[in-house]
Amino acid sequence: MADKAEEQVSQLQPTQQRKHSGINKAEWIDGYGPYRYCKPTSDQIIAYIADMKISGTFKKSGDIQSDDIDISKAPLIYEEERWRKYVALLSKSIEENINRNRIRYEETLLSVEVEEQVDARPIETTDDDVSQWTSDQLASAIVHPEAESDMPRLREMILIAEDTGFTVSQSEQLARWLLSFAERHRDSSDPQDEVAVWSAIRTGASMLTPDDTDGLRPLLEPGHSIETSLVMVKMLGRIFEAQPPAEVDEHQELAGEVCQIAENLLNRYAITISKSAAMAQLSIYALAAMASSKAQQIVETVQQLGVTWFTQQTLRELSGLRSIWSSRPVPVADRPQKLLDRAIQILE
């Protein structure tokens, strides 16, 4: 089928350069990373690949569920190669996905048609390739007031921000924005927002100092369509593991919330569900890392539960925290260290 598509495409004559094929940016409702796609009609997909700045229309016999299409792994080609070859490769990728049942209906691609033929010359890509931006460009674009008008682009920027080093001042601005984004979008029904919300929490929280952590409490709330409490509790543990407190109980309100999560999950029924067990262990880790005196009563509860595997795994995690702290160039303050040692001792 790919050969047939390639043959059909090869018969098309390149004519003119175009960028979005007349489709408004806001209509690129789906996609991630380097590509966008939309479905203007039930038998069409229009794909746009940022690396190439070209687009095409793919017609097939049956309805395609856009959520099931994966073209992120469509072979990229070098800029000097022909647009039509690219279209053929892309159609092949779609066909492969049909074979892998990623497209719901296994009806084969009937034809590949260039809606408006394009010149083989690629358009300059520098401005649009987010991965090539400086940290300053990226930070400015993310916090731009109109950033949310192009959600695929914004999601892409959020993911790239996770792999970008920012200055302290950029981080101050971004952390607030990213965590606010997570809070505003955690009730989204768009499945693509989930990855962006979790990434925003990881990046935003990683930029915080312990003094800023009280503002994270809303993201511990359960009951939203995108579950944020697990990643939030995990990041709390990581914030304090890297920046241990100087004294115990410096963050009592936050510790109270985390302790409540642990208490609710620490029973033999809940921890048979691996997600609950994970959440309970991450909560215990966070309490120990933030040097909450509640950590001791919680590990005593773990011990009393008498569930060997759970006790062992919790012990392993807390021992890992002790290793991280002991490898720090500056020793951890005495009382937080003793609190952690005591928690480990209870579990041993």
Partner: protein, 217 residues
């Protein structure tokens, strides 16, 4: 033996067993490994199975065609620990379409990424083999000796065979940890199968030391 080439016949595999895929046209070169994301089933050569794996991206429920498989028989408690770890990293899984290459690393087999100002961990990058090895470490099973001194050299040609995308992204190899022209001490997918191709008590007692040629299984 706990690891098997499925051309020898079907094998029953269980959740978190290691499943591997060979490179096309290279009969025994293992190009990819992941953890089975299904309960007990009989698999044959080329069957599609659901996996937890570093594709990239890190994916739960993706599929691969299985050609080789191996396992350490896990106790019930170890399976619970494994499952808990899988949930702890649930926020880091992506769907295939996200295609986040930054999540991927070739050398070392895994590496934590930190915020450059605060030193707070963000997430862990993995190679496909690294993800499988780290999963087993969560239940205190060190499958493979991964110190650089203990690993064979891997040259650029082998990297290109192991990672078909590497040809296309050759200029970006440093992003995946491969600086210079090599050779490098890369943990290849085939090593994991050799590590599992030992008696269970030996697997649990001592990590396997990979040898030249172990990229094939």
């Amino acid at each position: 033996m706990p690891a098997i080439d499925l051309t020898q016949g079907p094998k029953t595999v269980s959740c978190y067993d290691v499943v591997g895929q060979r490179a096309e046209g290279q009969t025994r070169f293992v190009k990819h490994v992941g953890l089975l994301n299904e309960d007990n089933r009989l698999v044959e050569m080329d069957d599609e199975v659901s996996v937890l794996h570093m594709g990239p991206p890190l994916e739960r429920g993706g599929t691969i065609k299985v050609h080789v498989a191996g396992r350490v028989p896990l106790t019930n408690d170890e399976i619970k620990k494994f499952s808990t770890w899988v949930e702890k990293i649930a926020d880091e899984y992506k769907e295939l379409r996200v295609g986040k290459r930054a999540q991927y690393i070739i050398y070392p087999p895994w590496k934590d990424e930190y915020d450059s100002n605060t030193g707070v961990r963000r997430y862990r990058r993995y190679s496909c083999a690294g993800f499988v090895l780290d999963g087993h470490r969560q239940v205190d099973i060190e499958l493979l000796e991964i110190d650089a001194d203990a690993l064979p050299d891997v040259d650029k040609q082998t990297i290109m065979s192991a990672y078909p995308d590497a040809r296309r992204y050759a200029s970006q190899l440093p992003k995946y940890g491969l600086e210079g022209n090599g050779p490098w001490k890369v943990v290849l997918a085939g090593y994991v199968l050799h590590a599992l191709n030992r008696p269970t008590d030996q697997i649990r007692r001592k990590p396997y030391q990979a040898k030249y040629g172990n990229e094939q299984f």
